[in-house]
Symmetry: C2
Subunit: 193 residues, 2 copies
Amino acid sequence: MSLRHAILALLTVEPMTGYDLFKHFESSVGYVWHAPDSQLYPMLRRMEDEGLVDGEEVSWGQRGKKRRYTATAAGIAEFRQWMNTPLEYTRERDPIHLKAAYFEWAEPESARAQMLAHRDHFAERLAQWQLKVHEIDTGTSPMLTKRLASIPAEEHAATVAFKRFTYEGMIAHAQQEIEWAERGLALIDQLAH
Amino acid sequence: MSLRHAILALLTVEPMTGYDLFKHFESSVGYVWHAPDSQLYPMLRRMEDEGLVDGEEVSWGQRGKKRRYTATAAGIAEFRQWMNTPLEYTRERDPIHLKAAYFEWAEPESARAQMLAHRDHFAERLAQWQLKVHEIDTGTSPMLTKRLASIPAEEHAATVAFKRFTYEGMIAHAQQEIEWAERGLALIDQLAH
């Protein structure tokens, strides 16, 4: 259950409203950890109850108000503890590989469409992740720029390097899935003849 | 929700008890789709209620009884329909990549241990999947042998090819995750000096 940790990761940079967080979950951190707003707002309320974040009302527009959240010391400690705790690995649950193992049951045109959709899904992700690496390399990521401004200069290299390393891994995975889908398309064509 | 489809895939070969299915979910199909027995038995009962499988009491050992399940025509139709339905892709929720993006918050020794665990997790999976490909190539997979015996000879090539293609994709993914973990270990060492 990493949503709370993804939220805390973002709040280590600066206080944010639920809407600010939602925007980040639609881009930056959302390319690694997706959270729909139906989960985000209840989680923020629960984290406030648990003392991991502090909420305060701030003005929004002419007469509106929004709740802005700050990570508390307890929240920072929770994030750091999670960062130092080994993950539990779950075993595979991979629907497209489950399907591919039984593609002889599908219509060739349907198997073909599913491999195309797999390729397109990862091609889209690949483009997003390549853009993130480009932003890192050119210093044009607004969130990373803010983060670097908030930490000592001697921590900059590691902060940048781990972000780039993460996206590199996701890029390599996307490229591997695209290659696999293309081999699947070739195999389906070959078996259909 | 693909557990029911993974169950139906196995039952297209022959009738099986819950225990037979459990064993397959610990090996063969379990290397693609894992299901703990806490989910398997309730799902079988639900699928029987829905008419997707037929259950019958069979003798087990000296005095015991077990319930053995057969895919019904409705179950086969459900499986075939699922095979022809495009998947919904979910966006990323990848805890180790979420963590890696913030590894500067972890103790170097902890980050190192987590990358080693990631490498070991996929090294173990890699060995399993390579063994499956070896079984396919040498005709020594008991389940695949049974399946081939139950279908016309002209369908053998596709049945074997799609199985191999599936495991090849999982092997390529495992190799990519192992390489990524090794680059992470090198990066952690480099930043710690």
